[in-house]
Symmetry: C2
Subunit: 391 residues, 2 copies
């Protein structure tokens, strides 16, 4: 186990009607006038918007609004949010939505406190040293941004999807009402579950020895997703299943599953190139990339794929031929993704084989290798992309 720090100070209010506490939580964390940040207006259709406004009003919280966040959130809207927050004297950014809205809110919060262009944080030119407090009301179980210090933004000038990370932008509080996810369409539900599962994969596939507790925690989250996702697709109103998926999404990404170990994240970076180019849903892009990554790296480095098969998927261990055990685990995962309606090839997400060289060039701008479990070269990544582009 490697040395580590772990700090996850977000206050979580979880359950039915949790949003009623929103105003009180804003006050607790020093807010009195908030920027209410959201996406394309689905929260107005499903009633979430009205419930949040009611909670703000009853606690006498003033607010100004900025909607319009799109999946893979854009730098231009972040700049607009920074301007509004400054001119209106906002003291807390309240994100009402999923990962994209929360990430956009985090970028605004950091940008307000920075003299230069906020995009510097995403181009490695500046470090986040301060930010307005961020609160969230979560409406999609997927990204885990409600409990993480990370925020991913699409830099419209370069076309790159890039992340920043700082404890300053970690939400002070997150309101998590699983009822808000009952109306999510099956495809978004499954893509969210896939994202959660793979947040854990990025931590599970590690070369660090003696990380038994985090291995077992990772498996907990994966087994929960495997159990609950088909249940919720069969019965979208299943509150218990929705609740387990929602809380698993937080645990998958606040890093309790990742401390003390080298992490991979190569698949996420490969997927970011896909979603920057084609605006594909992140979880769906991961469903295409990760099994291809698994098949490619397993042959070189099967060690961690064996417990992935036995502990996560219940495959009996064949010690005479553990590669066979590992391969069955990958096949089970592929079968699961198919079962829940996720894509498995470029053509299903509108990606094109001829763009591969461009994606690879962008991915390797400034780095020699990708990932850590197996360090991948340009050629490796090209082959992984190609393996799902041809079919």
């Amino acid at each position: 186990m490697d040395n580590f720090s772990f700090y996850s100070p977000t206050y979580f209010e979880f359950g039915r009607e949790a949003e009623k506490k929103t105003g009180e939580l804003i006050r607790r964390f020093g807010g009195s006038k908030v920027l209410l940040h959201y996406g394309g207006g689905s929260i107005k259709k499903n009633g979430v918007y009205g419930k949040v406004i009611a909670a703000l009003t009853s606690a006498d919280i003033k607010f100004t609004e900025l909607g319009g966040v799109v999946p893979n959130p854009r730098s231009s809207l972040v700049r607009e949010g920074i301007d509004i927050a400054r001119s209106e004297g906002v003291d807390l950014i309240l994100a009402v939505g999923g990962g994209s809205v929360i990430d956009s809110a985090k970028a605004i919060a950091a940008g307000v406190k920075y003299d230069g262009d906020f995009i510097d944080f995403y181009r490695g030119k500046a470090k986040i040293e301060d930010a307005l407090p961020v609160g969230t009301v979560l409406t999609i179980a997927a990204a885990g941004s409600e409990g993480s210090p990370n925020a991913v933004i699409t830099d419209e000038e370069t076309g790159k999807k890039k992340g920043a990370r700082s404890d300053h932008i970690r939400p002070k509080f997150s309101v998590m009402n699983p009822e808000f996810t009952l109306t999510l369409p099956p495809y978004q539900t499954a893509a969210g579950a896939t994202d959660i599962f793979i947040h854990v994969c990025e931590r599970y596939f590690s070369n660090t020895p003696e990380v038994v507790i985090t291995d077992r925690l990772c498996e907990s989250v994966m087994k929960t997703i495997i159990y609950e996702t088909p249940r919720v697709l069969r019965d979208p109103d299943n509150y218990g299943a929705r609740a387990n998926i929602m809380w698993a999404g937080m645990i998958a990404h606040n890093n309790i599953c990742g401390v003390g170990r080298e992490q991979d994240w190569g698949s996420h970076h490969m997927e970011h190139e896909l979603s920057a180019l084609y605006d594909v849903t992140h979880g769906a892009g991961l469903a295409v990339i990760v099994p291809a990554w698994m098949r490619y790296v397993m042959e070189r480095h099967p060690e961690k794929f064996v417990p992935f098969a036995t502990e996560v998927w219940g495959v009996p261990l064949d010690m005479i031929n553990p590669i066979e055990t590992a391969m069955i685990g990958i096949e089970r995962f592929e079968g699961f993704l198919k079962q829940i309606g996720m894509p498995s090839k470029f053509s299903e997400i509108g990606a094109r084989k001829e763009d591969i060289p461009k994606m690879v060039d962008k991915l390797f701008a400034g780095s020699e290798t990708e990932g850590n479990y197996v360090k991948l070269s340009k050629e490796d990544v090209t082959k992984i992309y190609e393996s799902v582009a041809d079919v």
Copy 2:
């Protein structure tokens, strides 16, 4: 899943030489003059004391000292600590030790900010509304107090061991260097592991439906303890195994394994009567009580004992006779406790059958039932005590 709040804002610095950050962490959380609180002096023999003093000195932190905390920490020493902290103008309590030292430090921290006698918090006469910040340097993996809002104190006037709970006394930071546990004797190591395992049992045995994610997380901790404890007893210098047990101890008790569900805690309360009377090591007392509790309640309410057997202990499920499966799980647990050198009956911990009525009376002073998985009457608890007193 029940509605819940989860808030675990402790900053954890984990790993080799983590104690070097102690001074910096004290400054970060507003301390400049600390009360250094510890136990019977083992930290002076094993070098931990010197390392902590060096870290304080190098960060120019002033300190005053109070040693002498005993297992099942006493109210009189807490009062002494409150007086010293006040007269010396201490602004942070630094606990260097295990659960008893940390719990004593938490009580001092709350007492300093309270006009009345601190014991009011433990007699249900007052609520903790404020406290000095608490930091910890952990030396024993067991109680989980390094990441919890709980503190248990022996009230010397009543002879009762009682708990208080408040986010105000949750440590601001905890320094966790597994090397500090390498010199722990086997009995203390095993008792600590037992305590960790049972902190999770108290949460696992629950009637709340649809808590799949926390069920799986509980199993992660239990499986880690089952795997690592025999390794560390065989090879006390195994850093990796010590590290996994230490981090599992935090996860077992910061309530990430317990949110969204009714918890039991009847066994803990039964054990508190034992350790208040005989000063038995908490984990060893639990090793006597919990299997007896399991055998007693399983017959009435086997449901949760079946996954305990199959998921935690790998017992094959017999759906024709699931009680048999459940019983084999309990037997495996008893076998494990024996294997790691834990006691299983009163005579091994110096407890006496004739004291049972006294313990039962104290336990039920002010309550009608104990525990939640099965609500136990005085008669039930008497039978549980008797089942391990006769043998």
